[in-house]
C-alpha cells in the first residue's frame, strides 16, 4: 500500500474540520488551514502555473501569533500546495510538525474556551510530542525553589556570578507567592525539580497553577520548539 503522507494527513484533518463545522458553524480552524482556504479562494481566478498566497494569523492588534502563509499553485490537473510557511520562525513547516500542529489543535479543541491551564497544556504537549517529556511544576514550586537555593549555595548552578537573577532570587521573601516571581526566575528555578529525579522529563512548565494560557500561544510555543536547531536531540 503506497501512502501519500501529506495528502492523507491533510484529508484526515480537513474531514475533522468539516465535522467540527457541522457541530459548530462558528468553529475557527487553525491559521494554517485558514491560510490555505484564503489561498484557495484566489486560485479560481489564477492562471495555470500561477502561484497564489494565503495568509492568516492569531492574536491581537499588537501581538501576532501563529502567522502562516500557504502558497498554492494552479496546475493542469488541479492544485498543488507548494509551501506552508510559519512567518514567525520564517521556516517551512515539515510534514511531521504539521501533523503535530493538527493534533495539538484537536487536543485543544477538547478544552472549552480560549485558554488552558498549565496542566492541560502539558497533557496536550505530551499527547502530541513523542516521548512524554513535559512536566507541569504545579504546586511543587516550593520544593524546586528550595532545591535551587541549595544547588546555588553548593555552586552547582551555572550562572555568571553577577547574573541579576541571583540577586533577584536572594531578594525574594520566602512567603512570596510563585506568581510574583518573574518569568525568567521561574524558568530558572523550575527545572531543578528534575535534578536527581528519575523522571524522564526534559521541559518543566513553570506557569503558576491558577494561570490561564491562551491556546494560540501554545501553538507558537510548539512550532518554535519543534523548529529549533536542537530539536533532534529532544526527539530522541
Amino acid at each position: 500500500m503506497e501512502f501519500n503522507f501529506f495528502n492523507d494527513a491533510m484529508k484526515i484533518y480537513l474531514d475533522y474540520i468539516s465535522r467540527q463545522f457541522k457541530k459548530n458553524p462558528n468553529y475557527k480552524p487553525h491559521p494554517l488551514i485558514r491560510a490555505l482556504t484564503n489561498a484557495m479562494d484566489g486560485i479560481e481566478t489564477a492562471k495555470e502555473g500561477e502561484n497564489v498566497r494565503g495568509i492568516s494569523f492569531e492574536g491581537t492588534e499588537n501581538n501576532i501569533y501563529e502567522p502562516y502563509m500557504v502558497i498554492v499553485q494552479k496546475t493542469k490537473g488541479g492544485i498543488e500546495i507548494k509551501k506552508i510557511l510559519n512567518l514567525k520562525v520564517k521556516k517551512e513547516i515539515p510534514i511531521d510538525v504539521m501533523i503535530m500542529i493538527f493534533r495539538l489543535q484537536i487536543q485543544l479543541d477538547k478544552i472549552d474556551g480560549e485558554t488552558v491551564s498549565p496542566q492541560q497544556l502539558v497533557d496536550a504537549l505530551n499527547e502530541v510530542i513523542p516521548g512524554n517529556k513535559f512536566y507541569a511544576l504545579g504546586d511543587r514550586w516550593k520544593e524546586a525553589r528550595d532545591r535551587f537555593a541549595k544547588l546555588l549555595n553548593e555552586g552547582k548552578i551555572n550562572l555568571a556570578p553577577n547574573d541579576p537573577k541571583i540577586e533577584e532570587f536572594k531578594r525574594i521573601d520566602k512567603n512570596t507567592p510563585w506568581e510574583n516571581y518573574s518569568n525568567g526566575l521561574r524558568a530558572l528555578i523550575g527545572p531543578t525539580i528534575l535534578y536527581g529525579s528519575d523522571m524522564n522529563k526534559k521541559i518543566v512548565i513553570t506557569t503558576p497553577t491558577n494561570a490561564r494560557i491562551e491556546k494560540y500561544k501554545v501553538f507558537d510555543f510548539v512550532t518554535e520548539f519543534m523548529l529549533r536547531e536542537n530539536v533532534e536531540y529532544f526527539r530522541d
Binding site: M1, F3, F5, D8, I12, D15, I99, F102, Q107
Partner: protein, 458 residues
Amino acid sequence: MKEINKIYEHYFDLIDSYFGSIKNYLEDNKYSHIDLGMAIADYPLVSDLMLDAINDLDRQIMKFWSENSSKALDSLRKQDSLKCVYSGDITPVLLEDFVKKSLLYIDTIVIPDPVLHLTIFKNQTTMDKKYYLKSLVRHVFNLWKLKDLMLADLEKNALVILPINLNVVNEYDKNIILSNACERFANYVSKIFRQGIDNEKDALAFLERFDDIKELFSAIKQTDLLPNIFKKFDTFEEFLESFIDTKVHFQMEGKTVGFEFGEYLLSQFIRVQEHKFFCEKVSGEPIYDYDLPYFFFSYEMGGLDMDASISNALQKEKFKWLGNVPLDALKILREENKLENMRSILRKGITDLKAKNDEDLLKTSEQLERNLKEAFDEQEKEIASLKREIAVIIKKEIPIEIMGYVVGFIPYLGDYISLLCVSRSIKNLLNQREELKQKIDDKKTDFINLLIKSYKGE
C-alpha cells in the same frame, strides 16, 4: 426510499465523514479491509492524527443510535422475514462471504454495529490505541464493502446493523442477562469439573487454582460437554494460549490459566444471554460464523431449530466456494422472488431437525451439500436435455422442412397443404428453437447456475 434505508444512508454518511479520507486505499480483494486496518495502525504519525481526529466517534455513534435505534428496530420488526442475528466476532472475518452463504437461506442478516461495539469496548478497557484503530478500520471497511447491498431497495432488507450491545440495554434487563449468565456459567463449571459450585465467584476462585494448562485440562471430568476444540489437549492449549495473548492489547494483569479460562467461559455465557435477548427482540434466529459461539448458544438452548441449523451449517468451511457467488446475484435472487425456491432445495431432508451439538451441525451441512449437489445435477440435466431438443430441431426437422419449402416439395404432409402452411410450420419450429434457447439462457443466468459456476470456480 424506505425509512430503514434512510437510516443506513445516514449511518454510512457518518462513517464516511470519519473514514472517507482513507477509503481510496481499500483494494479490490477479500482481505483488503484487514490489510487496511493493519496499514493504517502502522502508519507513522498519521495513525496518531487519525486517532485524535476520530476521538469523538463514540459520542457521535451513540447519538446516532439514540436517534435511530427504535426506528430501525420497529421497521425490522414489521418486516415479515426470516431474520438471523449474528454473534461471534465483532463482524465475521469476511463479512461478504458470510453474507453470501447466509443469504442463500435467510432473508435478513442482523449484524451488531461494529463501531458502537468497538467505541464502547475502548472506553471500558485499557485497549491499546493502535489495536483499537486497527480493529476499527478493519470492521468499518468490512461493512463498507456491503454498503450497496445494505442500501439496496429490496422488499426485505438483506443486511442490517443494529446497536446490539449489553451496554445499551436498560439496567433491569441488563441485570437479568448478567445474573442468568453467571448462574449458567457456575452451573457449567460445576458440571464439567464435577464440583459443587453455586455461583460465579466460587467458580472463578476454583479455576484460579490452576496455573498449569495440563493440570487444568486433566481436571475436566465431563468432556462430552465441551466444544470439540476443547476436547483434545493440543487444541485446548492452543486456544487458551491465543486467548491469553490477546490480552496484551488490553494491558491487563496476567492471572492463572485457570482464571483466564474461567473469564473466557463467563464471557461466552454473557454473550449467549445477550444474543438471546437481541434475537428475541427482533424475532430472529441466532447465526454464527465459527463453532465456539455456536456451541455455547446451542448448549444454552438445548439445540437450534431447522432454520438456525441450516443457516449455521452453511457457514462450514466446505461451503467456502459460496464466496465466489457475485454479490449482485443475491439481489437478483430476491428481486425475482426465488429465495423460497432456494430454501426448499436446501431444506430437503432436514425438516424437524434440532441440531444439538457440533456433530448434528456437521450432519446438517452434509445434507445441505447433498441437496445442493442434487440441484446442480438436476440443473445440468435440464440444460443438457434442452440442448438435445434444440439439436433435434436443428439437425432433423428444420433441414427437411426447409428443403421441402425451398424446392416446393411437401414431404409426408399431403398435397392439400399449401406452401403457406409449410412456412408456418417452419416458423413454429424456429420459434420453438428460440424458446428452448431462451430457456437455456434463463437457466444459465438463474441462481442455481450461478452457484454451479461458483462451485466450479468459473
